[in-house]
Structure formats: structure tokens, C-alpha cells
């Protein structure tokens, strides 16, 4: 089992909880100027996790805002999980949370759903 990756939120970056038991969560705001620098450790963790994953992997994305530079990084996170799902080593699902009335955030989730063939569910909060 690998160590969990826990990152606390800041004004511009989200709270991240990647647990080796398969519960993954990204929540808050993701609006850094340099998003690659922020997401690099998440990619590394996911690559590592994929070598010995839990039977079930659940990603919860609960973002208030994200910028377009983060949108690319989120897609890369989802693609890594899609590869994991297709490998058959773990059954991956994604839950996309959005605030009641935030149509743009709902549409953003729908955009990802159309790009990545992972099972998505949507949750209004």
C-alpha cells in the first residue's frame, strides 16, 4: 500500500485527499496560475496507485471554481483513471458535485463525461 496524498486548500488551490483505499477527493477552488506544478504530485501518486490499486476507486470532484488551465489537468487525472479502469485492476467511478444553480459547473462535468468514458454521476448540493 502506498501512502495517502493529502494537500490542504489555499486561496487558489483545492483540498486533495488521495487515499490508497480507493477514495479520492478534490474539492474547493482550482485557479492557480501554474496548474501543472500543482497537479504534478497528483499524477505521480495516481501512477503509483495504479500499480496496486484498491478493487474500487471512487473519485469525488467537488469544485466551486476552476480555471481553464486546471481544466486540462483535471482531464489528465480522469484519463489516468480511465486507463486504470480499462486495465480491469480497479473499477473506477466519478461523482461530480455542483452547487444548485451553477449550470456552468454542471455543464463542465458533462463536458468531461463526453471526453472520458468513465461512469459519471452528478450530485447537486
Amino acid at each position: 500500500m502506498i501512502d495517502n496524498l493529502i494537500i490542504e486548500s489555499t486561496v487558489k488551490t483545492p483540498e486533495v485527499k488521495l487515499n490508497s483505499n480507493g477514495f479520492l477527493e478534490i474539492s474547493g477552488k482550482s485557479i492557480p496560475e501554474n496548474s501543472i506544478a500543482f497537479y504534478q504530485p497528483l499524477y505521480a501518486w495516481l501512477d503509483n496507485y495504479a500499480t496496486n490499486p484498491a478493487a474500487k476507486t471512487e473519485l469525488k470532484i467537488s469544485l466551486e471554481y476552476f480555471n481553464t488551465s486546471s481544466s486540462k489537468c483535471l482531464l489528465d487525472v480522469l484519463r489516468k483513471l480511465d486507463v486504470l479502469n480499462k486495465s480491469g485492476k480497479s473499477s473506477v467511478s466519478v461523482t461530480w458535485y455542483y452547487e444548485d444553480g451553477d449550470d456552468d459547473m454542471l455543464e463542465a462535468g458533462d463536458d468531461y463525461k463526453s471526453l472520458v468514458p468513465l461512469p459519471f454521476s452528478f450530485m447537486k448540493v
Binding site: K12, S35, L75, M105
Partner: protein, 183 residues
Amino acid sequence: MDIFKYYSELEQGRIILSFKGKISEEFLSSVYQTMENHFEEGAEDVRLKKKIYYILIECLQNVFHHTGNLNDENGKSDFEGNDNAIFMISKSLADNYVITTGNFIPEKKISALKDRIDSINKMSKEELKALYLDQLNSTELSEKGGAGLGIIDIARKSGSKLNYSFHSVNPETSFFTLSIEIK
């Protein structure tokens, strides 16, 4: 400059925030915080607040990434320009929020930028979505963090055309302004 007119506009809430100077990461943090506080007190609905905030972030990050000493792919600076910028949040006569930015850009980048904005302005909501998804799916992030998505996203979320102008400062440099009314 008519300072009283400026004061009156501030007083009436027409100008909510304005700034001239260098746009740093620290400055962006404080703008985001200020606008969040502003919206907490305001009566705008969730959808509108978020739209304004999204567009504000993209506009400011555009300026942040494209101002001053721009480096080409070889890390060579091609523009020893003025890295000051201006930024304003105001209300239009129709009482819509307007976000305006202004920054210096190299003259030789104008034509590509103008073509890009013109083509985006001609697109329908559906075409913008298709372009956004295509760029998101295919483009790599640049060194500066952008993926060319910002301007598409601004057009998508604002629901209005991107107003722009170029003001020639000298043979190598122009001042570029971008203004978006959020409907």
C-alpha cells in the same frame, strides 16, 4: 483627468474595482479575495456570481500570462515591453457587470490575436462548446500555463461578444484592451 467624475462613478457603484500596475500572483490572490467578499454582500444569484468570478479569473490570468517579457519556445525574450496593466470591474448602463483589462503586447502578435477573437465572436454557443472540447482534448498546456482555452471560455460563459481594441504605442508595441459585458 476628472477626479470628481471618477469619484462619482465609484460612489454610484459603477466602478467596483480598478487597478493599474504589475499583475503579480499575490495581486491576483487579493483580487479574488476582494471579489468574493463583494459578492457575499451582494444580492446577485449564484449563477451570475460564479459567471463573473470565472470570467474575472480568466481575464486576469490572460493578462498575467501575456504581459511583459514574453519568451518564445526557445526561452528567448522577444518583447522587452512594459509589464504594467490595467484592470477594472464596473457596471454598464444596463446594469450588467463589465470586466475590462488592458496590457501591452508586441505589434507582431496583433494580427493573430485579432483573427482569433474575430473568429470566436462569430461562433454560436454550440460552436464555442465544440471548439472548447476540441482544444481541451487535443492541446497541451504551454509553459505559461494556458491552453488557449481562456478566451473561448470567456466567450462561452459571458454570453456576449468580446470587445477589443489595439492602440499603437510605438512601432513595436500596442496597448490591447479587452472588455466583456456579462449578461
